[in-house]
């Protein structure tokens, strides 16, 4: 799908944020979104929702410039600040905000008041069908399941033919299958309409499922931008690493640089890891992030492997988390390891036993503090 000229969203937003719940910071962000889904990813309190509120016109930036397509909807220098109802931006809130006193059909036609009644009904019927909830038209929102409510909220927003769509974690609480089905319907809709969609989430799974473009936000600034692999697999900041599912965040000191091999050795508490070469000198403190699922377990010392880090340790605990088993291995430093249930069974993993951990150099990521 090629983005049409004009179907873009440009935003330059600066806003000082004071909050009792989160630390105060200045939101300072420049977005340049083409048609299609862009994910705004970051830990909670990073300023993601504030960005959406500013674009929709619900919150006023201290300074900046927001243009949707050709039209400038906000600009501090030109003193333009359109009210939300004049921006033609659709916004699906995390709470969905369906009107509880109106039926599904009345909710969907709410944004079509400028059309004759028959036309309103026809458009509502069409979009409800597109999102597979046409049979629920006469129900009230509280009579619907979570997934149905989410579909109705999307239909209500998109029926107005918005110029951009803002989604604030709209699929939280749905299982993966249902999520994927709704996202597919959204993609089908957008293949025809081609508007920029800004999708806010703090869930790594959603990034993987949706990802075309990802913008990672933390403390109000863009920290990384690109494909999901680029952004999530090489997190540069500690908070982002935690959000991206790096269960192991280990502090250590650089003890040896091997520039020719492109690696360096980091001494943790008791153990040493070989990690990719980073911008550091011998003696510098660094943090290493490793996904629990990137660590292999073996019952005996493996031989003839390309992996550079082999660590012997004691299996401290095992915990079943659905289809995976989370293990804690103590080798002087404690590592979190995840294996499938089948693997745990076949290896005969038991707490108290001795295991070997195998970690590839490039599974170790350096993060900034």
């Amino acid at each position: 799908m090629t983005p049409l000229a004009g179907n873009t969203l440009n935003a330059l937003i600066r806003k000082a944020r004071r909050s009792a719940k989160h630390s105060a910071f200045v939101l300072d962000i420049a977005l340049d979104l083409p048609a299609g889904i862009t994910i705004l990813f970051g830990p909670s309190g990073a300023g993601k929702s504030t960005v959406l509120d500013c674009i929709a016109g619900l919150v006023r930036p201290d300074a900046g410039h927001i243009a949707i397509g050709e039209e400038v909807v906000f600009d501090t220098q030109q003193q333009i600040d359109l009210a939300p109802q004049h921006r033609h931006v659709a916004y699906v809130f995390q709470s969905l905000a369906l009107f509880p006193h109106l039926t599904v059909e009345q909710n969907v036609t709410y944004g079509l008041a400028y059309l004759p009644a028959a036309e309103q009904k026809a458009r509502a019927a069409h979009i409800l069908e597109g999102f597979r909830v046409d049979r629920l038209a006469t129900r009230k929102p509280q009579e619907l399941s979570g997934g149905e409510q989410q579909r109705v909220a999307l239909a209500r927003s998109l029926v107005t033919e918005p110029r951009a769509l803002l989604l604030d974690e709209p699929l939280t609480g749905l299982d993966a299958e249902l999520k994927a089905a709704i996202v597919d319907d959204l993609r089908v809709w957008n293949a025809a309409n081609k508007i920029p969609i800004l999708y806010v989430t703090h869930s790594r799974d959603e990034v993987d499922a949706l990802g075309e473009r990802v913008i990672a936000l933390d403390h109000g600034s863009v920290v990384s931008e690109g494909t999901p692999q680029n952004v999530l697999d090489a997190p540069r900041r500690k908070r982002l690493a935690q959000a991206a599912g790096f269960q192991n965040l280990l502090s250590g000191t650089v003890v040896d640089l091997r520039e020719s091999d492109g690696v360096m050795r980091v001494h943790l508490n008791k153990t040493e890891l070989e990690v990719p070469l980073g911008y550091a000198r011998v003696g510098d403190p660094v943090r290493v992030a490793i996904r629990a699922g990137d660590i292999l377990l073996a019952m005996e010392k493996p031989r003839g492997l390309s992996a550079r880090n082999l660590l012997e340790g004691r299996l401290v605990s095992l915990e079943e988390l659905g289809s995976i088993v989370a293990a804690r291995v103590d080798c002087g430093d404690v590592f979190q390891v995840q294996v499938t249930r089948g693997a745990a069974r076949e290896l005969g993993l038991a707490a108290g036993g001795t295991v070997w951990m195998v970690i590839k150099t490039h599974s170790c990521h350096l993060v900034e503090n």
Binding site: A56, G57, L58, A83, P84, Q85, H86, R87, H88, V89, A90, Y91, F93, S95, A97, L98, F99, P100, H101, Y110, G111, A113, Y114, R156, S157, T160
Partner: protein
């Protein structure tokens, strides 16, 4: 019977005016971010704690021929405002103001802000959001406001006595007539009227509590503290 009819007429007028006046006032008080709004809230709440005679006294002075309101009224309509039905309505509106405005404010504030944001993003202006979202979701509060201002006006005594005096057919309400009967030791007649007033008040409050219990929305009552 004349007195009973007069009381109902007065209460209905006051309830209607307070609804029309209270909705915009409550809307403004519920959503404004003006830093001095608490001063207006104090003024609205004042009749709750003020003795009716104090309010009635100042209303009477304002309505008198030398008061600003009385002078204006006389210039417009050719007769004085004090000791007339219109004067009574005016004073009662002031006196019952908190009973209409407070439940409306509490109801309006109780409407989820995200719904208002959703309405705006869907293209609705403030007027449409008010009538299509805020009012429908505040119906228990609107009902409470109407019923409380009606009931409170039905039962008022001090303000009526100060402003209205005791003119049969014009300003002699039920509560004044009950007082008259007691003064003349006509206990049976006083009892008939008192019982009727008691029955009306009971029914009205039963209605409010019943509806509010069913909808389970937060509503303000004069005897709830927040």
């Amino acid at each position: 019977m004349e007195a009973m009819w007069l009381s109902i007429k007065l209460a209905a007028c006051v309830a209607f005016i307070l609804l029309a006046l209270g909705m915009p006032l409550a809307y403004w008080l519920a959503y404004t971010k003006w830093r001095w709004k608490f001063l207006l809230e104090v003024i609205v709440a004042l009749p709750l704690v003020l003795p009716p005679t104090v309010l009635g006294f100042y209303a009477l002075v304002a309505m008198g021929p030398r008061g600003p309101l009385g002078a204006l009224w006389t210039a417009l309509f050719g007769h004085s405002l004090a000791f007339t039905f219109s004067g009574l309505v005016l004073a009662s509106v002031l006196y019952s103001l908190p009973f209409a405005v407070q439940p409306l404010i509490v109801s309006f504030e109780g409407v989820d802000g995200k719904l208002l944001a959703a309405s705006a993003v869907l293209g609705a202006g403030k007027w449409r959001t008010f009538w299509r979202v805020i009012v429908p979701l505040s119906l228990p509060g609107v009902l409470t406001a109407v019923v409380l201002s009606f009931a409170h006006t039905m039962g008022e005594f001090g303000v009526v006595l100060m402003v209205g005096g005791n003119l049969a057919g014009a300003t002699r309400t039920v509560s004044i007539e009950i007082y008259d009967h007691v003064q003349s030791l006509e206990y049976a007649a006083a009892n008939r009227l008192a019982l009727a007033l008691l029955a009306i008040s009971f029914c009205v409050l039963t209605l409010v509590y019943g509806v509010n219990r069913r909808v389970r929305q937060r509503t303000w009552m004069p005897w709830t503290t927040e």
